[in-house]
Subunit: 403 residues, 2 copies
């Protein structure tokens, strides 16, 4: 079938045609549940005895929220389904199961995660996820290590990297994370109370030089298969479990970009509680939980990465004393730099986060936004001095105190 | 026509079938002139009035010098012809003209350069090439800058990088340049007089850690389309002109790898004259010429790179004060590191250079080889301290004095 968008009814018929997905007598109903940025997302449910439900995700040949004035490759659906399948091999259960995918229709049929909540929403509500750090740290270590030259034959790795070439989606990141927020670009959208600070940032050539270098690394350093957009809106959680969704930005890039995206989003939430949670003790306790989560995520990532290195490294230099430590320090410093860019773009650039947007009072919101900008700048400028995750926490804490 | 190797006679018939290549009444004779490492190379000449000659280069599905126990992708002929065509667009006249290429037959039909000499041979004979630095410096600047994210749209650059994915040829470099020479590998072949030094190198974990990092950069940092094997045996010269041949190793990698390969080969020749040119004044004068050539190559590369940056940079950060300087310093430090690896591998590893091999007395040859190893180690260990090309020369000079 050549590409066309499916109606709800056609989606139901398509679902029926996939063997063993639903019982013969299923009473299927379909509902569009996409958040509307890029794709159509249907939940198709059997209202009969099986009660089974699945997710139907279809890419549109343009950015849904903008319209056909911004065309966007359908190849992203192939990349997303292939990334999900691979991630599920590398760390079973960490992503929704793919039941079926159709490259022509740019369609993925996958596991429904109705009982999960988008993590960002949970963090705004000050929820806690006792297994999250363990699960995401392991996910990061496994997906990054096992797709890199450390674990794969260099020939296989280069073939994978070529097949995950994702120029149009990368270009969104290049523009909206690394370029526009640091220039006076019409796409930017920021709280007017930040005007002076934002103007200063746009004139800060030292900062911009460092962002330029980080951007160059994002564009050229194909270390490992990244999720590519690992914010807390791409993570679904229960108290017990974590699932990572939406890897349509997947491509071969620097490992620190994924870890940095995650830490940035935890710290955007940290910053947001400055304006969102006014009771000081409650705020401090939750912020401490978030910082502890950052430390745990890195520590578990590092421990698992070290295990994988010891067990599975194919690279002949892996046994060279000092190489593992040097490798991890480079990843940590990249992580800090990319986290800084990600934090700043969510305040100055086009796409904001509900952590901060949910603060209605602009002055209170500015408090959180200023803290996010301050941490972001510190991260970008001081990343080469970072030697351990505790150094990250020290930068966050000193920025918070100075606010 | 599906793949098969062409006989001399079939090559002649194929050449006749290419429109406008030879006159109708051409009296074509064919001669195999390949140096025998990887491919068949025929020169086909009209012994009639046109006198015209062309080169026929056909890849074999294995390494010719080893045989079919070492299979090697035919895709390298596609990569070579596409690289030649692109390089000729980026800097017209810098490479042989491609008249025809046939992907099925892994065949390139190209300009004959009979009047040119392999540069390595000329350098052993202490010849001088007054236009060389200008031509190769410009070639490097144009091919590297104009294929990078600095000049291309990021989407176009990623498509080019995917199309120049060259895993098998890269793997030869990964093994024979970066891995085997720094380990006790059976493929190594070195002068027995160097045994103690080589044993020390294999135990030097600080050196090996730095080589590991350089190798990781080679494997992951897709900055620009490299020639990939830019030694002085891949350069053909007359007193007036320079042509770069054999880009079958072309792929997207770090810019410094190409510049470093070239500088390494100039300095291997420099080192070889320690044993090859015994008359001190003659040696010193020629070595000074070689060092001056290194300086000029970098200076011209840098000047042309700065011009291209000013005129053609598409990257929005290109105007950020300090970014160009920082970018060039990173390229220079990579250049030094890669030059160091390249020098050491030509002494310890499988493939040697005639600059050193032409010294018959093993003790005299060891003198040159020890100098090459010493410069190589200095380059690898001290590259992060290098701020200008003069720092490179200082390292070479102090190594020479210490010998």
């Amino acid at each position: 079938m050549s590409y066309r968008t499916l109606s709800e009814q056609e989606a139901v018929e398509y679902a029926r045609s996939i063997p063993d997905l639903f019982p013969q007598d299923a009473q299927l109903v379909s509902r569009e549940i996409g958040d509307g940025n890029l794709n159509f997302v249907f939940r198709i449910q059997d209202e009969g005895p099986s009660g089974r439900s699945i997710i139907f995700k279809q890419a549109l040949p343009y950015v849904r929220v903008i319209g056909d004035s911004w065309p966007l490759t359908l190849d992203r659906a192939r990349i997303e389904s292939e990334a999900l399948i691979l991630e599920n091999e590398l760390y079973p259960g960490s992503v929704p199961k793919v039941y079926h995918h159709d490259t022509e229709l740019a369609l993925i049929v996958m596991e429904d995660l109705s009982e999960y909540q988008i993590m960002r929403k949970g963090l705004v509500e000050r929820k806690r996820y006792p297994n999250f750090a363990k699960q995401i740290g392991t996910f990061l270590a496994r997906t990054l290590f096992l797709t890199s030259d450390l674990a794969l034959s260099p020939v296989e790795k280069k073939r994978k990297a070529a097949s995950f070439t994702n120029p149009e989606l990368c270009n969104i990141t290049e523009n909206f994370v690394f370029t526009y927020p640091f220039h006076d670009d019409p796409s930017n959208a920021y709280n007017p109370l930040l005007s002076d600070t934002v103007q200063r940032i746009w004139k800060d050539n030292v900062l911009k030089l460092e962002v330029a270098r980080l951007k160059e690394g994002f564009m050229t350093r194909g270390q490992a298969l990244l999720h590519g957009d690992l914010h807390t809106g791409s993570i679904m959680v229960t108290e017990e479990d974590t699932k990572i969704i939406d890897p349509e930005f997947a491509y071969y890039g620097p490992m620190g970009f994924d870890i940095g995206a995650l830490i940035a989003n935890l710290l955007l939430n940290y910053s947001a509680h400055e304006g969102h949670t006014l009771e000081p003790q409650e705020r401090e306790i939750y912020q401490a939980y978030l910082l502890d989560t950052v430390v745990q995520v890195w520590d578990i990532f590092e421990a698992e990465f070290r295990n994988l290195w010891a067990e599975k490294a194919q690279e002949p230099y892996a046994k060279t004393p000092g190489y593992l430590d040097a490798y991890l320090r480079d990843v940590l410093q990249d992580t800090v730099g990319y986290a800084g860019c990600k934090m700043m773009r969510r305040v100055i650039g086009l796409a904001h986060v509900s952590d901060l947007e949910s603060i209605e009072d602009p002055a209170l919101r500015a408090k959180g936004e200023m803290l996010a900008l301050s941490i972001g700048q510190e991260f970008i400028l001081k990343r080469s001095t970072i030697a351990s995750v505790n150094d990250i926490i020290a930068l966050v804490t000193s920025s918070t105190v100075r606010q």
